[in-house]
Symmetry: C2
Subunit: 441 residues, 2 copies
């Protein structure tokens, strides 16, 4: 049985067996349900389907020989350390290298304030665990990273979206939202933002807006959670200065090696004010005891011995070519009435379909035509995003990207014809978690 069949079987079985525990779950577990369209993403991982859904980095571009030498050397020379438990905060030498990586974005920090996490997803989980009581407000861009919304939901946060445009989060909308919520007596715990090459919108918060956002949050006493997995993957000029670079006390910064090295090690981190860092370490301990020493030492050794800046440059060039390919093909092929963002880095383009179309309803037809995307509704906590889809250009080779856009444009064109004929496109699908799993994300 392949992993795909297994996945398909699982999803198909869902709902068909009786759940003896249905009355006993925690309140937070009620939303933990996969939607019917999840099965589609398993289909979408077949080789004949062009997946513009996935956010998987192109790890084929990595120097596998060097990585192989590092892991063999690690077991041979530091095996009894690498295979043992580590501290909950994470390996000190890795944390020192992480500080070096963050200096590329203007951050001046010491290893004592860094916590190594199981991908930056775990950092998100822990920061939410430490701050959120049920009903507390998290501010987030609309649209926002689906994995973050899943975590916020798991802690029963109330997510309030703040509008964004081509320059990122709108400071005026942010100030107004904070003002309104404060008047209503709501407890705003933090602003969650992906300021650079945002997932899913592909836009970047401009420098003047960065100052404004920090100032607004500082005045309102709202912590900023800056999630920055793509910051070093910009296509033009120097990296943007991180929000954290200009506010050490008001920002928790989340970083990751999943996109600049490899997701298979699951090494991310949080940089937090000292007292918050203490809480994160204890929360991590209760969640997983400690992260894998083996993968931490591997990543530390990679950073210590390999030309990692050159490798990131290689990734940047590779992804820039793919972005250009995607945007060029869309320009040439997409039906009138479609609009989309033009990312200056990262992995994603955000598409708005013509009025009357429903991206989630279109997905089954698209998969039948051998192309996949992620519908926009997954990136909102409030049911918005029906006319949106996220396209990613990080994984497929350029030729495949062109073919994928050709197929997708054809499907959308048919939907436009249906709408013009019947007044509506495909019927909407059911509710639930309607994004692919991590291996197909």
């Amino acid at each position: 049985m392949t992993e795909e069949q297994d996945h398909g079987r699982r999803t198909a079985a869902h709902g068909s067996r009786i759940d003896a525990y249905v009355d006993r779950y925690a309140a937070r577990a009620t939303g933990m349900v996969a939607s019917e369209i999840r099965a589609l993403f398993a289909v979408a991982s077949r080789p004949e389907v062009v997946s513009l859904a996935g956010g998987m980095p192109y790890v084929t571009a990595l120097p596998l020989d060097a990585v192989g030498e590092i892991v063999a050397d690690l077991v041979a020379h530091r095996g009894t350390v690498a295979l043992q438990y580590g501290s909950a905060q994470g390996d000190l030498h890795l944390r020192e290298h992480i500080c070096e990586v963050m200096r590329e974005e203007g951050i001046d920090a010491g290893p004592d304030d860094v916590v190594v996490t199981v991908g930056s997803q775990q950092a998100l989980d822990l920061i939410t665990r430490v701050f959120i009581d049920p009903g507390d407000v998290v501010l987030a861009e609309g649209p926002s990273y689906v994995g973050a919304l899943g975590t916020f939901a798991a802690y029963q946060a109330s997510v309030v979206h703040v509008a964004m445009d081509d320059e990122g989060l709108d400071p005026a909308a942010l100030a107004e939202t904070i003002d309104t919520l404060s008047r209503q007596g709501r407890r705003i715990k933090f602003l969650y933002t992906v300021p650079t090459f945002q997932n899913p919108a592909g836009v970047t918060l401009s420098a003047p807006r960065r100052r404004q956002v920090l100032e607004i949050c500082r005045r309102a006493g709202v912590l900023v959670v800056e999630d920055n997995p793509y910051g070093l993957l910009g296509f033009d000029g120097e990296p943007m200065r991180a929000l954290r670079a200009d506010d050490a006390d008001g920002v928790v910064y989340l970083g990751s090696f999943s996109k600049t090295l490899a997701p298979g090690f699951r090494v991310g981190w949080a940089l937090a004010p000292h007292a918050v860092r203490d809480k994160l370490v204890l929360a991590l301990e209760s969640a997983v005891l400690s992260h894998s020493t083996f993968t931490q030492l591997t990543v530390g050794q990679y950073l210590a011995t390999q030309p990692w800046r050159e490798q990131i440059k290689h990734f940047r060039e590779l992804y820039r070519e793919r972005r250009d390919t995607l945007l060029g093909a869309m320009e040439a092929l997409m039906p009138p009435g479609c609009v989309w963002t033009r990312p200056a880095g990262g992995f994603f383009v955000w598409v708005t379909l013509p009025d009357g179309l429903d991206a989630k309803a279109i997905l089954p037809r698209a998969v039948a035509e051998r192309v996949a995307f992620v519908p926009g509704t997954g990136f909102f906590a409030d049911g918005s995003g029906r006319r949106n889809m996220r396209l990613s250009y990080c994984y497929p080779e350029p030729e495949r990207i062109r073919e994928g856009v050709r197929r997708l444009a054809g499907v959308i064109q048919q939907e436009v014809v249906m709408r013009d004929t019947f007044g509506t496109g495909s019927a909407p699908a059911h509710a639930g978690v309607d994004t692919p799993g991590p291996d197909l994300a």
Copy 2:
């Protein structure tokens, strides 16, 4: 700066800086505080101290050459898979091997019902996340694994301890506790138990009691969470039959490779009824997206190619010798009035001190005399355990174990003299998380 100095500095700094976020944490975070004695465990990791505190397996006994070949081969031949995201449920082939491992304890299960987790600690975290609303009751042996109590506290569960003796959990006490709580209208979500070679008590639930415990829980509709990291590390005869082997619907089984292979990979698992498994997978996704593909494939390959049963036998013989050494030295040296358990497997001995002594208060003096243990209070949610300590024999070599017991016996003897002279021993220490971190556990 060494890891130890770093840890010491962190602990010393705790409380001395002002926490700007003190009013903003979630209710669950209020208990996330390290006690003063945590700093002692950093000291206790110095080479001159004999640590009987740690639960670290003796990974020096592993075939490092074979592990080195496996990881190098993995990167060379399956690098682009091993370095990529994986499914949230975990690698299918690893799950198949996990089923083979569980068959050693009489469990008949398929890979579809297994979820791979970041150590079994994460399985504990996820099962608590899925079932526990604040105030819900978790039944647990008294004493109970400190890491589980930390997780239950993080989800604001109300832990109710059930008495145990040399045959493990007392079924009559269990039935009575359930009865009392039910009459009070309390919601009991599950029984958490380490039935085999319990941490910290070192005792094992007898076969007749296993049937009784299952029957009592089945009748009361209480889920059993069976945590079994030590089950294959028995010193006499065949492995005990797992609770899960006789009840597929009423038991969630947690397993781990941390003690039978190596903790540095952080690979554990949960085996759960189908509907619960679905929830666990989605909870895992929101917590960490997916576990490290790299470490999962490494463990899978180890199980597929190495004589893992022989390796576990080697561990068993090694730990049996150390247990014999510890028990022999205690018999010879411990002052009258001390009593302790005699484990038939696993890592731990549970000591009860003479009346009037306080193990937590004794710890600083013991560390000054270059021996460390874990005070009993950490293993209770209700403040019990003052007269108890946990001693572990897994990590130090036999000669060091003997020397450690000699030092410890001397410290306890002095405390007895103090008690007889002044009516009390050393003064009790402060509250908080008073167990060592994972690297020193």
